[in-house]
């Protein structure tokens, strides 16, 4: 599976494909401007920069190239959204995530078109979209199960009642999988959200459009502004700042290119940020998230803090 670069096929109704010929008597399409998603708003990069991304079937699209300052703004938005998201009751958090899946279902065609634009074949694209929606539903069931599965009561030898509950770490940066631009993104993001964390996402660099559409979906969902922030741009440029940002509590490095990994982990170590990453030796590959094996919860567990509370039993 992967990109089928340059293979041209007819694609109707995509607002993104500038090169599609428009017959004289047809209405001119209103194209979408892909933007960043920060604090519930859709700004362009403050730097004014864009990267021109060629599309699979000809034409191109201008992708916002987030700057260090955009990253800082995204972290700020995430931090201010964190307490309210963490304190939503677990069942409600799950329902809000499920609602996003509902909305994705309604926009399935657009997600599919995004993938086609990035060179996916038709059936591949359809499978990735449906799998992504199903994956989000899978994770939507997690929030109110996490404490029972990962926490519990501890049968200590002394006369104390002791329980352990998982709590969210806080602000988590998600370097989204490069080669699984929708299913990988959803898998990594959903784990973070299920645990009660808020996210700053760096979208797939080569295939950012599904992340842009996800932003537009989230904006009309019940996910509060700032809980998910999505940046597009260049990883090599953002990674050093992202890994060293002291207000980022955890980083999912799944999509971090190998050559940037050591520096990113060093940066995270500076402020004892928690990290999740690909299993050692595993590549950032498109099929990493397919099927039951793709239901990866390492990115959910990595950003949970176990809090243990003791109280004496007695009078």
């Amino acid at each position: 599976m992967g990109k089928k670069g340059g293979k041209k096929r007819e694609l109707r109704g995509s607002p993104l494909l500038g090169a599609v010929a428009v017959p004289d008597d047809a209405r001119l399409e209103v194209r979408r401007t892909p933007k960043l998603y920060i604090g519930g708003a859709f700004p362009r990069s403050e730097s004014g920069r864009t990267d021109v991304l060629p599309l699979a079937r000809g034409g191109s699209v201008n992708i916002a190239r987030a700057s260090r300052k955009d990253l800082r703004e995204a972290v700020k938005a995430a931090r201010s959204a964190a307490p309210a998201w963490a304190s939503r009751n677990a069942s409600l958090r799950g329902q809000i995530m499920y609602r996003v899946a509902e909305l994705m279902e309604g926009r399935a065609a657009q997600f599919r078109n995004d993938l086609l634009s990035h060179g996916y074949g038709k059936s591949e694209a359809t499978e990735e979209v449906t799998a992504s929606i199903d994956r989000l539903v899978w994770f939507a069931g997690w929030p109110d199960k996490i404490p029972a599965v990962l926490g519990g009561t501890n049968p200590v030898a002394s006369s104390h009642f002791v329980f352990t509950i998982p709590e969210p770490t806080g602000v988590v940066a998600v370097v989204a999988p490069e080669s699984s631009p929708l299913l990988g993104l959803i898998t990594r993001l959903a784990g973070v959200l299920a645990g009660g964390n808020v996210a700053v996402i760096v979208a797939s660099e080569g295939a950012p459009l599904p992340a842009v559409t996800l932003a537009e979906t989230l904006a009309v969902s019940d996910v509060p502004a700032g809980v998910v922030n999505i940046l597009t741009g260049r990883r090599a440029e953002l990674m050093p700042h992202l890994s060293r940002h002291a207000d980022i509590d955890g980083i999912d490095l799944w999509g971090c290119p190998d050559e940037l990994l050591m520096d990113a982990e060093r940066g995270a170590a500076d402020h004892v940020a928690r990290i999740a990453r690909r299993p050692h030796g595993e590549k950032d590959r498109a099929n990493a998230f397919i099927g039951e094996r793709g239901e990866r919860i390492d990115g959910m567990i990595a950003f949970l803090e176990m809090k243990t509370v003791w109280h004496p039993i007695g009078t």
Partner: protein
Amino acid sequence: MSSEQPPKRPARVVKRAAASALPASVTPAAPHVASALAASSPWAYAPAPESKELALIRPRYGLFIDGQERAPASGEVVITYNPATEEPLAEVAKGGVEDADRAVGAAERAHRKVWSRLAPRERAKYLYRISRILQERSREFAVTETLDSGKPIRESRDVDVPLAAAHFWYYAGWADKLEYAVPGRRPESHGVVGQVIPWNFPLLMLAWKIAPALAAGNTVVLKPASTTPLTALLFADVCRQADLPPGVVNIITGPGEMGMAIATDPRVAKVAFTGSTSIGIKIAQGIAGHGKALTLELGGKAANIVFEDAALDQAVEGVINGIFFNQGEVCCAGSRLLVQESIAEDFIARLKDRMSTLRVGDPMDKNTDVGAINSPAQMETIGELVSSGVAEGANIWQPECVLPERGWFYKPTLFTNVAQSHRIAREEIFGPVLSAITFRTVDEAIEKANNTAYGLSAGIWTEKGSRILQVAAQLKAGVVWANTFNRFDPTSPFGGYKESGYGREGGLQGLHAYLKSS
């Protein structure tokens, strides 16, 4: 201590300033408590020393690699001292990079050829056996621990050693039940685990590290702290006694570079470190990009919050235990007292009263509350931070108490009028020094408690249950003790938020750290 001295101690007892840098401005104790420990006082205790003969300390120890004692490649030794007497206890091998390489090799072979092939229930039985031997030899371990670390015999006897045995017992039972630990996933061991532990709870930290690692099917290379190697080396003897296959546990003594060599060895798949935040960060940076699993249990600056409706006498005991347990050389020590303004004056008076009855001195005396500081280096750190507290304008108070002439001892110290910006309110002192800060509202208490880079532990003292749950939920700390403090149990996970590290030790969560699950 009373003026009566144990026979083996120097007869001369003089009052000594706690730290060189300190004491010009130390306020004398209130008159009514000043002489609480004088011989004429009803609080005076006769000496009750534990016998040193229970510890069979050898003059020299090698490295424990592949089931055998080996000389270090360097041929060099370092001396470990008794902090209470400044006398040398034994010579210990100074291991290096070459020794680390050899130990990791032994662990790798043992994992590949023996430990990973062993039936899990047999693995469990080895751990049960180790636990039993620790119980049988508990007095020997307790005495050795106290002689090497300076902690009161009462603590090593009642806390460190029984808890260490309990950890092996608890994790023994997990060894053949791993499928139940990670439902729906297939648990696997990492392989070789590199572990570096601190000097404050030498045997207990060893148990926290080795027990879950072995239960999960890993083999280990462990580096004990340079100033407290003896119980780890005694544990090597337990491994032999238990017929543990060679190479499953390797214990090597040496400097920090050797610890880093263990951590960065490509054959080491998982690293576990307990110690200071600065060293923890260095280790995390050293192994960055190597794909190793890592857990860190680092520093702390715990707030012990006393609300106005607390049972005050119990709270006083809890605060005392929170900061003076193991001389305050505890990462989760309750080193910041947050006391509600309405009761602050009364509470501080009770606290001073109680501090005046603490018995500071010979760790081998069964009545001693506060023993010796582990090393001169730590004495210096404490002295330096206490001086900064004085210089920054906090009010220092120490009880009148007589410290032994020899040995590294520090008086229990209380700072009042402390600002949150003071170093003594921000930095981990790792000594018997308490910084008191006041608050008015619940929100203010929570904000002040969380106003630290650390997040290891916290204490709450109130009689109101709903407030306990509210405050506990908002504290950014891995362990919250409500109406108690410094409690530990193998079934209960321990570890921090924020710069206190990540990963947990103890309980199911502590087992997860030693398993890969796919």
